[in-house]
């Protein structure tokens, strides 16, 4: 047996790395174990066709807080950006695309422009409260300690500071669906579709489902925190973010081992005591921190024999059904989208031209079917960084909503159908595009599960909904990063505040551990 670490982190995704860095900087000895050949988890870059590289899961950096980026020293450790503050261009409008850039919107009527300014202003004020919740270690309902009571007071004070009118409005819309809220505010179908897209991207539901205003607020709060960086494309793809984290981690003294797949979390005397690797190697540690999703952590790595039935039942009920597929296309030349200029092409293109379009794209997923006209989030990262594709060629990375985890009996047929539908949809907005596709890759939620070890292929390791948020994320009894097993902690997206390449779950977990949690 080798040395005994203070902490061993299972999984070298961004949250695991953030957690490791934070702990190591306080003098803890930390070992990060990553099953894949490189760190990064779902925040990586890889080749999918000779010479064409993409970020196969997350493909933009848009919700990592600027202060965390600084704190981790990522730019000091080599992180560069191919583009910052990217615009969003919503396709499919009768009057051409609707472009969101620098806090304003173009391509809609006068009234919508004004309404949008008002709407974003109000959302920003609400986000000041939401952001506070997002940042903190979730309170326990018991408010057992003075620091928790104080934290609760601070939240209450932030809320209070909104003033009576806005407090009432936040309470009114907090549990609403995006469809109703957007219909109240805007006329343009494309505008509404685009905002609703952001409200539902990576969620389990479409715009008419309850709780989609909450998911919108969470996303907006995250975006506001990214500050001047805005929506950014790291040079070298998303893998560059985690590579910089790994460099920062090593500088802080963290030991990182890749190709080290953990088989079991070891328990001794009712305490997590280390891990057993697939190789048979045993690594001892005073505590184990899991960046894996809750289901994997508790049911596969730990095992129900160390947990109570009630807890296992809650974990079993934790919903993690991914609904986003990924499509990568190798393109022979730069695509041309109708009405989209060169600047917008480097940004984010949305195909979600109306609320009804989103609902119709969502419906089949309820019945294990793929959408005929999928909603898409398209990026062409080679516009900002030509090196991602061979000279003169381009690479396209697309998030496809809403694709169920379970594709029914004929999964192969459904996959072919889905790819055809995606290409047909693209062709409508970029005539001639399909003709220049030389290679393609489709990753459905079940592929994402296989490649990244995320249960259900869910980006956030579990749905971000009211019932799985804050002190119920992932489940009561594990919502403050500590778990029923002393010495075992969670630090992944399954914990508050969830996923997106944000890193806050990792930082909160580290802070909890440093504050002396068992």
């Amino acid at each position: 047996m080798s040395r005994r670490y203070d902490h061993v982190v299972v999984g070298g995704g961004h949250n695991g790395l953030v957690c490791a860095i934070t702990l190591a900087r306080k003098g803890r000895s930390v070992l990060v174990l990553e099953a894949a050949d490189a760190v990064g988890g779902a925040c990586v870059t890889r080749e999918f066709a000779p010479g064409f590289r993409v970020s196969p899961a997350a493909h933009l950096l848009d919700v990592m807080p600027a202060d965390l980026l600084d704190e981790l020293g990522l730019e000091r450790h080599g992180l560069r950006f191919a583009a910052r503050a990217l615009p969003t261009c919503a396709l499919g409008g009768a009057g051409g695309p609707v472009v969101f850039a620098a806090g304003t919107v173009r391509g809609v009527g006068e009234a919508d422009v004004r309404a949008y300014a008002q709407f974003t202003g109000q959302m920003a004020r609400f986000c000041a409260v939401v952001r506070h919740l997002v940042d903190m270690v979730p309170l326990r309902l018991s408010l057992a300690t003075w620091s928790e009571r104080l934290a609760a007071l601070r939240v209450a004070w932030k809320f209070r500071a909104l003033g009576k009118r806005e407090m009432r409005e936040l309470l009114r819309i907090g549990g609403m669906n995006a469809y109703d809220l957007l219909t109240e505010n805007f006329d343009s179908d494309v505008l509404k579709g685009a905002i609703a897209f952001d409200a539902t991207l990576g969620a389990e539901y479409a715009a008419r489902s309850p709780g989609t205003v909450m998911t919108l607020l969470l996303r907006l709060a995250g975006r506001l925190r990214s500050g001047a960086l805005g929506m950014a494309q790291p040079a070298g793809g998303m893998g560059a973010v985690t590579q910089a984290m790994a460099a920062s981690a090593r500088a802080a003294g963290v030991e990182i081992r890749t190709g080290a797949r953990v088989k079991r979390i070891r328990v001794e005397d009712d305490r997590a005591a280390g891990v057993l690797l697939e190789s048979g190697e045993v690594i001892a540690a005073a505590s184990v921190i899991s960046n894996a999703d809750p289901r994997t952590t508790f049911l596969r790595l730990l095992g129900p024999e160390f947990l109570d039935t009630d807890f296992v039942r809650r974990i079993d009920h934790f919903r993690a059904r991914g609904l986003v597929a990924k499509v990568h296309l190798a393109l022979e030349r730069l695509p041309a989208f109708t009405g989209v200029d060169a600047a917008a092409l480097g940004g984010r293109l949305l195909v979600a031209p109306s609320l009804d379009y989103l609902e119709l794209a969502f419906n089949p997923s309820k019945y294990r079917q793929v959408p005929a006209e999928p909603a898409l989030e398209i990026t062409v990262p080679s516009v900002n960084e030509p090196g991602l594709a061979p000279a003169g060629k381009h690479v396209m990375s697309i998030n496809v909503m809403f694709v169920p985890y379970d594709l029914g009996a004929d999964a192969a047929g459904a996959r072919r159908q889905l790819l055809d539908n995606v290409l047909a949809t693209l062709e409508r907005h970029a005539p001639g595009l399909t003709a220049c596709v030389s290679a393609s890759e489709l990753l459905t939620p079940s592929d994402l599960e296989r490649e990244f070890g995320m249960s259900g292929g869910h980006w956030h390791h579990g749905a971000l909904t009211f019932d799985q948020f804050f002190f119920t994320r992932p489940v009561p009894g594990a919502a403050q990063y500590a778990t029923p097993i002393p010495g075992l902690f969670l630090c992944g997206a399954g914990s508050h505040p969830g996923g997106g390449v944000m890193g806050l779950a990792g930082r909160n977990a580290a802070r909890t551990i440093l504050s002396g949690a068992r």
């Binding site: 049911l299 024999e305 109570d308 039935t309 009630d310 296992v312 079993d316």
Partner: protein
């Protein structure tokens, strides 16, 4: 299928009858049936006193078919049960039975029951309440098959000093050599009969388990062989008297399942029920272990104790006070009985901390309803050993004939 079901249309039969009903109905003189786990069961056959004395002086037959039974099999059956219940199943040998409780994550008792080990990977678990959902949820991650077999097994308790003699008389050779909590396998004609030396009376006694079609032949054999040995079918009430003397607790009387409580702090823990000896803290994790370890360190909130009360009037539903004048409540009576065999006024009382360990004497208010007039008596009470009654014949092996 049986007489009752032929007489009444289905909609008039909300409760089931057991396979023994075909015979037992002719012994019921009082027509007092009570519902038990979906079955209609006799509360009293003829007279409670006679039935009680059959338990203590001759032999009593009690139909326990409604007892909920689960069959648990599979490669992980032992691991599964060890996580589910508080006792160490690893120490339970094949053909042995163990009384146990099981808890939720808060260390609160969900139910009590008995585990029967038929083989390395084969168990029966008998419970008071139906709880397949809990058992199935507990099976997440285990290779185990769980099914309810209540209706597949007819079960009869034969309890009392002549019970072994009766079993020998019906041809169960060697049954006297069964030890307490041991199972033996016999045959009645073609049908396998399992006999376990278990019971709810604290006396010499057995429980007989057979396929439903064997119920009537078994009943007839027992009644025939028991004719000269004082055999008598008994109802729920007589059994309840015997179980209090034996110090056995009853769900929904001495404690409420944590799965059913609504009010705060109505749940109970194994320690509170005085069942420390059932909790194997050294066997690794099991449901509720962490909470129980915490309780052990912190001390229990209350404790079920055996007490004796002056006078002869059973203290049903009485409250306990720390002295005669102050009326400071320190607990309450759960089960009470004037014990005809011990000639003592006994009770199981739940007493709050710290009084269960500090007070040597309590006061009990007993309310008597006499010819439509209520009278109250204050009586002295004191803790005593549990069980109240434990005759040597209960454990003697080979078992005596009378």
């Amino acid at each position: 299928m049986n007489a009752n079901s032929n007489l009444r249309p289905l909609y008039r039969r909300p409760l089931l009858t057991t396979p023994f009903f075909e015979r037992s109905q002719y012994f019921v003189e009082t027509d007092t049936y009570v519902p038990w786990a979906g079955y209609s069961t006799p509360d009293v056959f003829s007279s409670v006193e006679q039935e009680y004395f059959a338990i203590r002086n001759s032999a009593a037959v009690f139909d326990l078919t409604p007892m909920v039974k689960y069959r648990i099999t599979g490669a992980d059956a032992e691991r599964y049960l060890n996580r589910l219940i508080t006792r160490d199943v690893g120490k339970l040998r094949v053909n042995r039975v163990a009384y146990t409780v099981w808890c939720n994550e808060a260390g609160h008792v969900i139910d009590d029951g008995t585990v029967f080990r038929f083989g390395k990977d084969e168990f029966h678990l008998c419970t008071a309440e139906r709880q397949l959902d809990w058992f199935l949820d507990s099976a997440i991650g285990y290779e185990v098959d769980i099914r309810e077999v209540t209706e597949d097994i007819a079960a009869l308790a034969l309890q009392g000093p002549t019970s072994c003699a009766i079993l020998k008389a019906i041809g169960l050779a060697g049954v006297e050599n069964l030890k307490m909590f041991e199972m033996g396998h016999f045959r009645i004609g073609e049908l396998p009969l399992m006999v376990s030396r278990t019971g709810f009376t604290g006396d010499l006694g057995y429980e007989l388990w057979i396929a439903p079609e064997g119920a009537v032949p078994l009943w007839d054999l027992l009644m025939e062989a028991g004719r000269t040995r004082g055999i008598r079918p008994i109802g729920y009430q007589a059994l309840d008297m015997a179980r209090i003397e034996a110090g056995f607790i009853l769900p929904n009387v001495d404690f409420i399942s944590a799965a059913q409580t609504v009010r705060l702090n109505r749940e109970t823990t194994p320690f509170e029920l005085g069942l420390d000896w059932l909790v194997a803290l050294d066997k690794g994790h099991f449901n509720g272990r962490r909470a129980i370890v915490e309780e052990k360190a912190r001390g229990s909130r209350r404790r079920l104790m055996a007490i004796e009360i002056a006078g002869k009037k059973p203290a049903h539903g009485s409250l306990l006070y720390d002295d005669e004048k102050n009326w400071r409540q320190v607990g309450e009576i759960k089960s009470a009985l004037w014990s005809p065999t011990c000639k003592r006024n006994i009770a199981l009382a739940m007493i709050d901390a710290p009084h269960f360990s500090t007070l040597k004497e309590f006061w009990v208010d007993i309310y008597l309803h006499r010819e439509l007039m209520w009278e109250r008596r204050m009586e002295r009470a004191w803790p005593v050993e549990r069980p109240f009654f434990a005759p040597d014949r209960r454990k003697a092996t080979p078992a005596p004939d009378r």
